[in-house]
């Protein structure tokens, strides 16, 4: 029982990071019907920039609490990621706005590789470790353990997701985003500059990615120029699992994928009599993804394609 609860907790923590990244995929897809494959790399850059700032602050021996230092790293990462997201759209995707759909897709993969290589040039090939400056408290809950970092990740994710939902549902910008997603031409007649809305969508998604990047490097204690690839792939899968284009779907898909992955890691050894170890957790997660999509091709909360105007 306690292993089960433990894996659920771990899964929810991991899943909320996936969800934050998945929101970026799904917001862009909702408006442009474009899979921004470079989004995972934006997350990686968020992790790298924040770690650079955090390591530098720790290196010079700043006398601040660990949490404050991490927040300063985050504050540095967010604008950098926003800038990267904005630039990607402006330089790589906007010139291809009216091109056949395959062109921006290939470009997205290209941008992803370019960003990886830039990161490798700046930060090198080695793993960068997260300084142990965060509180290491552990708490017992239902026979399982939850750490301070895990609690912080969960709380911050919930706050960000609620904030984003509120913004999209209630604000003028959110309404303009939804209108543009449905018809950029008609939204234009209302006075909405589609390019501005698209830029803001990239900027917003990239800010969430920056936060996710800091979370994931704090959680695993590591960052690496290649970390965005698998994280991005999983977050993208989470968005597809929930129904791409749907915000609630991205959150649900992210949490589910995280939980499935954790349960897979916890039980796959026992279930297969030790043939498959917990390193097969990714296979397990993607197997579930394929299974769901076989029966619900539009994802769990996705609309049937015909319902799109």
């Amino acid at each position: 029982m306690d292993i089960f609860v433990q894996q659920i907790i771990n899964g929810l923590v991991l899943g909320s990071v996936y969800a934050l990244v998945a929101l970026g995929y799904t917001m862009v897809y909702g408006i442009l019907e474009l899979i921004n494959f470079a989004h995972g790399e934006v997350t990686m850059i968020g992790a790298m920039v924040s770690l650079t700032v955090i390591s530098a602050l720790v290196g010079v021996g700043v006398d601040l609490p660990g949490v404050v230092i991490v927040l300063l790293g985050l504050l540095a990462a967010i604008p950098v990621c926003m800038g990267v997201g904005f630039t990607i759209e402006r330089l790589a995707y906007r010139p291809l706005r009216n091109a056949p759909r395959l062109a921006p897709l290939i470009t997205a993969i290209g941008v992803s590789i370019v960003l990886q290589n830039i990161a490798m040039l700046i930060w090198g090939r080695q793993y960068i470790s997260f300084p142990p400056i965060l509180p290491q408290g552990r708490h017992q809950i239902l026979g399982a353990t939850i750490t301070d970092v895990q609690i912080a990740i969960l709380v911050a994710s919930v706050v960000l997701m609620l904030g984003l939902t509120l913004m999209v549902k209630k604000s003028r910008l959110g309404r303009a985003m939804r209108a543009t997603a449905q018809s950029p031409q008609i939204a234009g007649l209302m006075g909405v500059n589609a390019n501005t809305v698209i830029s803001l969508t990239f900027i917003l998604g990239s800010a969430l990615a920056a936060v996710a990047g800091v979370m994931v490097s704090a959680y695993y204690g590591l960052a690496h120029y290649y970390m965005g690839f698998l994280l991005g792939l999983k977050a993208f899968s989470a968005a597809v699992l929930g129904g791409i284009g749907n915000l609630a779907g991205a959150v649900l898909g992210g949490l589910l994928l995280g939980v499935i992955e954790s349960l897979g890691a916890g039980y796959i050894g026992g279930l297969t009599g030790g043939v498959l170890g917990s390193n097969y957790q990714d296979v397990f997660a993607f197997f579930i993804l394929i299974l769901v999509l076989m029966f619900r091709p539009s994802g769990l909360l996705g609309e049937r394609v015909g319902e799109r105007a």
Binding site: R178, Q182, S183, Q185, I186, L189, G191, V192, A309
Partner: protein
Amino acid sequence: MSLLAIQHLSVSYGNIQAVSRADFTVDEGERVCLIGANGAGKTTLLKAIAGMLPVAHGAIHFAGQSITRLASHQIVHLGLALVPEGRGIFSRLSVQENLAMGAYIRRDKAAVQQETNEIYQRFPRLGERRNQPAGQLSGGEQQMLAIGRALLSRPRLLLLDEPSMGLAPLMVKTIFETIADVAERGVSVLLVEQNARLALATCERGLVMERGEIALQGAAATLAQDATIQRAYFGV
């Protein structure tokens, strides 16, 4: 001076020149209708005026300034609104949100609220369904919503593309009463309409479009008496 002045306007749609060398004006407070067969270029002309299609040649002036090269999101600020063909409502947004989109360019919240309530009074069905997705409305209700939404940008000129399309006669009557009311309040109207008889009865002046060109223009009453027009468009 005219509110809208179209000079030698040509618009291409792919390789086809859908509008060629159109010349006409709409004066302040005037109601003008644009009639013609399917494919004559009426919708293309309206879209080009509203900034949804690029102009190949010629010029469009609105309220004294050139809007030839402006995008639709800029033009609406000058007081020109288009109710597009097929209504173009945001089906997944609620009725209320569709109206809010109509007022997107405005910051005077109190007045917008006031005018939104007036629209609900004029079209009670919209008020009853204000929180429902607009896609659930009937065709006529969607047309009312599209007109109400366009009015919330406070246009000086309202372009309407086939507002009666696919609607029941009673609904057509309501829509045309609304158009007449709007014009009463000083908003100029440029109306594209399949129902030529109704269009000429509603407007002061008419334009007849044939194969991308303005073939004929004049007082609506005169055009309505024209034997050629009666044969071609009234089905007599």
